[in-house]
């Protein structure tokens, strides 16, 4: 960028002024307070606008107020400049109160103001130079403080300040701090937070407190849980005590009810005993006469009485049976006599007669079967006759001599003979016709002059005739052979055509007849065999019949000879079987009579036994009666009484005696009960006492279900249960009281979980917050350090490269290369005359000044992104420099101006002259601020709204 013209309508002390800049060097000459600095500031205001205050920053303290025109009038500047690309721009900034405007125009182009708006300001410098105003101020605008030219011993401080300024600029801008300082503040903050291990730090304290509180809370919970468990045990003990007391009350109540019931029963017993004594005494008196009656024989008497009774009954029954058996006995005897007579009259049968009779039945069946089969022989006779008839019919056909199996062959011969003749005739006729016709045709052809065809035809006809003749001959031969065969088989038969026809016609009939004969033969072949078997069986049966008759001892007729007619055989067999049956019948009858006689004998014995039994029973009765009489007499019973009456009398006496004894025993028992029962009055009094006690315990006896009087053991058990329950209740009550007292004492010392939790929550929140702060500070530190490493690592080498680029040229090759430390931007130079790098604070003032300026320029290039050359605005930088250094620097500036425009304000005309002397006049310019010649009417630009 090259500044061309600055027009000021009003800016600080300058008003209505115009300044044209030299291409390379511009010297602005003026006394102190003449407006040199104002001019520099105006350039900056044109490029970056003017801050006019805002929220929290009053306008009166802003830059706008600071540079208000001293005189009334417009407040604004117009700057024309040219970029390295050749583009020219005119920027007009108007700062009038209430009407702050800006306008940027490209010379020869249009309004492009909006391209350069940054917030409320219009900052073409930001875009064309690529650096913020702060960077521009720090780098391109150099005041005396910027170079700090002073005493030689200020070098280290100067270098240090330069490095620090560089670092600050790179890290955060001219008004900020370095990254290292920022990290230092974060570290300080981190120290304030502390760490968990550092016990005195807030975090350490919170961590320790939290640990302690958690332990306290855990302990408190355990104590409270233990206390709760003890409370639960206390409740349990109280419940046990209550239960036991209730059980004791229940048991006591039950005992009272039972005892009352027992006493009631006892009183009832006493009363009953009294009445029993009275009744028994009276009854005993009535039985007194039998007191001495001996009852030793009672059982015997009873037994005898029962025996007598039983014996009499038995005797009666036996006598009744005997009487009932008399009639049947006579019958039986009579019958036996008859049987004996009959048996004497009957002959004795053979031992096997009856068995033979049984076998005879079977034989009769066999005979019947044989007879039936024999009758079927008639059918066989008929069949034989039929067969004869069939034979005669077959013979009548003339083919009787032909076996059935040869009929087919005969039929073929007949057919051949018949057809052969006819065929022969047919062929002969055909041949004749062919010959005639063929001959005629051939002749015709020949006649027609067609000898060839005629010949051919003749030949063909001849061939045909020959063929026909041959066929006819063959047929004739066959027929002849067939007839020969027939003649041999059927000698004497007519084998002419008619005869053959007749034979042919008769063949089917002959076949049928042969078939019928065959069928007949098949049917009756079976019959014949069967008949033969039947005949054989019959003979055997007849033999068996006769044998059986012998076995049965019957009169056996003479057996007919074998082969006799079946009916003869059957008759003989029948007679034998009849004899067998008769013998068997007689044997059976005898057996039956024997059996009957045996039965009757048994019956007779039985009936006779009944009489014996009746006699025995009578004797038994007499015996028993004798025994009774004996005992009765001994007991003093009236001897004249019938035995049973005597028994009854004895028993009655015994009964009285028993009654007497029973009454005596009952009376004794009643007396005993009376004694045991005790005094009724005492019992009643005791009952009343117990009932009162029961009512006192809240139970009315009427309301309670009065049980049956319990057993004594049951009452004892109830008493024991009540005592046991009382003891349990006492123990539980005692334990619960002890425990309750102990818990009561512990209650006051129990921790408050809520208090502890509150504290824990608060400490935990504080710790969490401290950890959060720690983490945030740590991350901020890491990010800043990383950013610093990145930015420094990027900027330092570029700075070094940028400085190195001009260093040799500007220092006359004394120093060829600069190194910029990455960490803190410490600058060192590579000298041609010395080994290694020379720190900046060890080089000469002049070199240091030069390097400082180069660093500023380099910084602009590095931090800026426009790639544009930066004009250097030096505000009286040589005020306190000695002439030598001044000279050196002026030369340096002159050389620097080849790449960067230099605008230098000086108050010393000598310096101005010196500079111009070393510069090219064509590219230099001097502006005398004090002179009015440069004062022109600068119109305020008309800015679009």
């Amino acid at each position: 960028m090259k500044l061309e013209r600055l027009e000021i309508t009003g800016f600080g002390r300058l008003q209505q002024r115009r300044f044209d800049f030299g291409e390379r060097v511009t010297v602005i000459l003026g006394a102190n307070e003449s407006g040199k600095t104002t001019m520099h500031r105006a350039v900056r205001a044109a490029l970056y606008g003017l801050e006019a205050g805002g929220p929290g920053h009053p306008r009166e303290r802003s830059e706008w107020a600071r540079w208000l025109p001293w005189a009334a009038g417009r407040y604004g500047v117009v700057l024309t400049y040219r970029l390295d690309s050749g583009q020219r721009f005119r920027v007009a900034q108007s700062f009038d109160r209430g009407k702050i405007r800006a306008q940027v125009q490209e010379v020869g182009g249009g309004d492009i103001t909006n391209q350069f708006r940054v917030g409320r300001l219009v900052s073409p410098g930001r875009f064309h130079l690529g650096v913020e105003e702060s960077v521009f101020c720090a780098a391109a605008w150099v005041s005396e403080e910027g170079l700090r030219l002073g005493a030689p011993d200020a070098a280290p401080q100067q270098a240090g300040h330069l490095r620090e300024a560089l670092e600050r600029l790179v890290d955060s801008g001219p008004d900020g701090v370095t990254a290292a300082e920022a990290v230092g503040r974060l570290t300080t903050a981190l120290d304030r937070v502390g760490s968990e291990r550092r016990g005195t730090s807030p975090l350490g304290v919170a961590t320790a407190q939290l640990r302690r509180l958690e332990s306290d809370i855990d302990q408190a919970r355990r104590r409270l849980d233990a206390f709760a468990a003890e409370e639960e045990r206390l409740r349990h003990l109280e419940a046990v005590a209550a239960e036991s007391e209730e059980a004791a009350r229940t048991a006591e109540r039950s005992w009272l009810i039972g005892r009352i019931a027992q006493l009631g029963a006892q009183a009832h017993d006493v009363t009953e005993a009294d009445s029993d004594v009275a009744a028994l005494t009276a009854a005993l008196h009535a039985e007194a006469p039998y007191a001495a009656f001996r009852t030793d024989d009672e059982e015997r008497v009873i037994t005898l009485g029962a025996e007598l009774h039983q014996a009499e009954r038995t005797a009666e029954e036996a006598e009744a049976r005997r009487r009932a058996a008399d009639g049947p006995l006579d019958d039986v005897r009579r019958r036996r006599v008859e049987i004996a007579a009959g048996l004497r009259a009957m002959p004795r049968p053979a031992p096997g007669a009856e068995a033979a009779g049984e076998a005879a039945g079977e034989l009769r069946q066999r005979l019947a079967v044989a007879a039936a089969i024999d009758r079927r022989g008639d059918d066989l006779t008929a069949a034989t006759a039929r067969d004869d008839a069939l034979r005669r019919e077959i013979a009548a056909t003339g083919l009787g001599a032909i076996e059935p199996t040869s009929l087919d062959e005969v039929a073929r011969d007949i057919q051949t003979a018949r057809t052969g003749a006819r065929r022969w005739h047919a062929l002969a006729e055909t041949g004749a016709v062919a010959l005639v016709l063929g001959g005629s045709a051939s002749a015709a052809l020949a006649t027609a002059g067609r000898g060839g065809p005629a010949l051919a035809l003749a030949i063909a006809v001849a061939a045909l005739v020959i063929a026909l003749v041959a066929s006819a001959a063959v047929a004739h031969g066959r027929a002849a052979r067939a007839r020969d065969g027939l003649a041999r088989r059927l000698a004497g038969l007519d084998l002419g055509a008619d005869g053959l026809d007749r034979l042919a016609a008769g063949l089917p009939r002959v076949r049928r007849l042969h078939q019928e004969r065959l069928d007949l033969e098949t049917i009756f072949a079976g019959h014949r065999a069967e008949l033969e078997r039947a005949r054989q069986g019959l003979e055997e049966a007849v033999d068996r019949c006769h044998a059986l008759a012998l076995e049965a001892g019957a009169a056996v007729p003479t057996r007919p000879p074998r082969g006799s007619r079946p009916e003869v055989l059957l008759e003989s067999a029948g007679a034998a079987l009849d004899a067998v049956d008769e013998a068997a019948r007689q044997a059976r009858r005898r057996r039956e009579l024997d059996a009957e006689d045996t039965r009757l004998a048994t019956r007779e014995a039985e009936l006779a036994e009944l009489g014996e039994e009746a006699h025995r029973r009578r004797e038994e009765v007499a015996s028993v009666e004798a025994g009774i009489r004996q005992v009765a007499a001994a007991a003093g019973i009236d001897a004249g009484l019938p035995p049973l009456a005597a028994v009854a009398a004895f028993r009655e006496a015994c009964s009285h005696r028993h009654e007497h004894d029973r009454l005596a025993a009952s009376l004794a028992e009643a007396h005993r009960r009376r004694r045991i029962g005790g005094d009724a009055g005492v019992i009643d009094r005791r009952r009343a006492e117990l009932e009162a006690e029961l009512r006192r315990r809240g139970t009315a006896l009427e309301a309670a279900s009065v049980p049956l009087p319990p057993e004594a053991a049951e009452l004892v058990e109830l008493e024991r249960a009540a005592v046991s329950a009382q003891q349990r209740a006492a123990i539980a009550r005692s334990e619960s009281q002890t425990l309750g007292a102990r818990l009561e004492g512990l209650t006051a010392g129990l921790p408050s979980l809520a208090d502890l939790e509150d504290e824990r929550l608060a400490v935990s929140a504080a710790r969490d917050r401290a950890l959060h702060q720690q983490e945030a500070l740590r991350q901020a530190t890491e990010m800043i350090e990383a950013a610093g490493r990145g930015v420094h690592g990027r900027v330092a080498p570029r700075l070094a490269a940028s400085v190195s680029e001009r260093l040799a040229f500007l220092t006359g090759d004394r120093y060829g290369e600069a190194n910029v430390d990455i960490e803190h931007f410490a600058v060192s130079l590579a000298s041609a005359e010395r080994e290694g790098l020379v720190p900046l604070d060890l080089v000469s003032h002049g070199t240091r000044d030069q390097v400082a300026l180069l660093l500023r320029l380099a910084l602009c290039e590095v931090l800026g992104d426009g790639g544009e050359s930066m004009p250097l605005l030096l505000d009286d930088p040589l005020g306190s420099a000695d002439p030598e250094r001044r000279q050196s620097l002026l030369k340096f500036l002159a050389q620097l101006s080849t790449t960067n425009q230099v605008v230098l304000t000086v108050s010393d005309r000598g310096v101005a002259a010196t500079l111009l002397a070393v510069c090219d006049p064509a590219t230099s310019s001097v502006i005398d601020v004090d002179a009015d010649t440069d004062s022109v009417a600068v119109l305020a630009p008309e800015l679009e709204v």
Partner: protein
Amino acid sequence: MPLRLLHLADLHLDRPFAQMGCTGDLARRRRQGLRDALRLAGEIARERGCVAVTIGGDLYEHERAGVATAQFLVETFASWQPMRVLLAPGNHDPLVPGSIYLRTRWPENVHLFRSSRLEPFALGAGLTVWGLGHEEPAWMGNPLERSASHPAGAGAGVHIALFHGAEISSRPDGKAVHGPFRAGEIHEKGYALALCGHYHGRRVDLDTGLVYPGSPEPLAFDETGPRGPVLVEVETDGEVRCTALDTNQWHAGSVSCDLGGASTVTAAVDRVSAEVLTATAGWPLERATLRVDLVGSVAPGLAIDLFDIESAVRETTGVTALRVRDLTQPAADLEALAEESSTRGSFVRAATEALAAAGSQEERAVLQDALRYGLEAFAGSEVGLR
């Protein structure tokens, strides 16, 4: 002569108050305040001639309640005799093993609903209260579905349900759901009213019969406004009336204070104090709990230390239960800073990228503070710990 009940819920005895900025004695005073609220409810019930006090759950916090709490409840309820006390345990005081409800010997006038199904308790004169208790800390059953018998089959009279539950349609954001039900089911199931607990905000809706008394004392900064039990009157003809009573002794609230433009800590403290005094006007300062959210854009050079600010404001205003949150934003043009080619610009870019990639709220919070601390450090000022 109507029958009267006093209904309260969500007392949360033994609750910690560290989240409200109360620790030590102050927290103990807060907890004592809860006990006082219960005693006061009993006095009011006696004065109004109530036949019973109904408690709709969360009477105490099971994890922290101890012997002293049980003793206090026994003594307090016993002193209310012959007035009945009907207890319906909730999710913070469920009927779990070790529950105070189960291991305490209650006076005779106390009835504890021990089943998770509504069971009747006749108060006489045709009034029946149907109550249930949570048997676990996270019960999700519908209280109105689980009646062993039904009011419709229980005869004439007025039937009132008592349980701890979450009415679905009016659930506050973030509130846990325990015992969910719908208000429309109350009359449908035959109940004239449902005396509930769980929501800490008061709600009395006679159209549906839904009654939430809310917590009688504020338990969080957002529990503002008057609070207290609800008096229920049941006429002989079945008409019911509800009157909310304002009995709270403690006050809670939350305010914002814009620190934009404040350049010093003193200025910041002054602003905060002014807001606090405005917000607590009319409150007894010794029973006031307030949360202050610092908002606005603050210059990086202004180091805000919450602890210092809290301490200073407490001293200035006299409000002891104070909790300050720093929600301010740095007054820095992050976009412009990010465009710098300086180390600061690189740091801002790195921090911004890390923020964009942050996976959790916690990570984001740390990075936001890291950015802030870094900017403060680059501004050359002392880093204020937030």
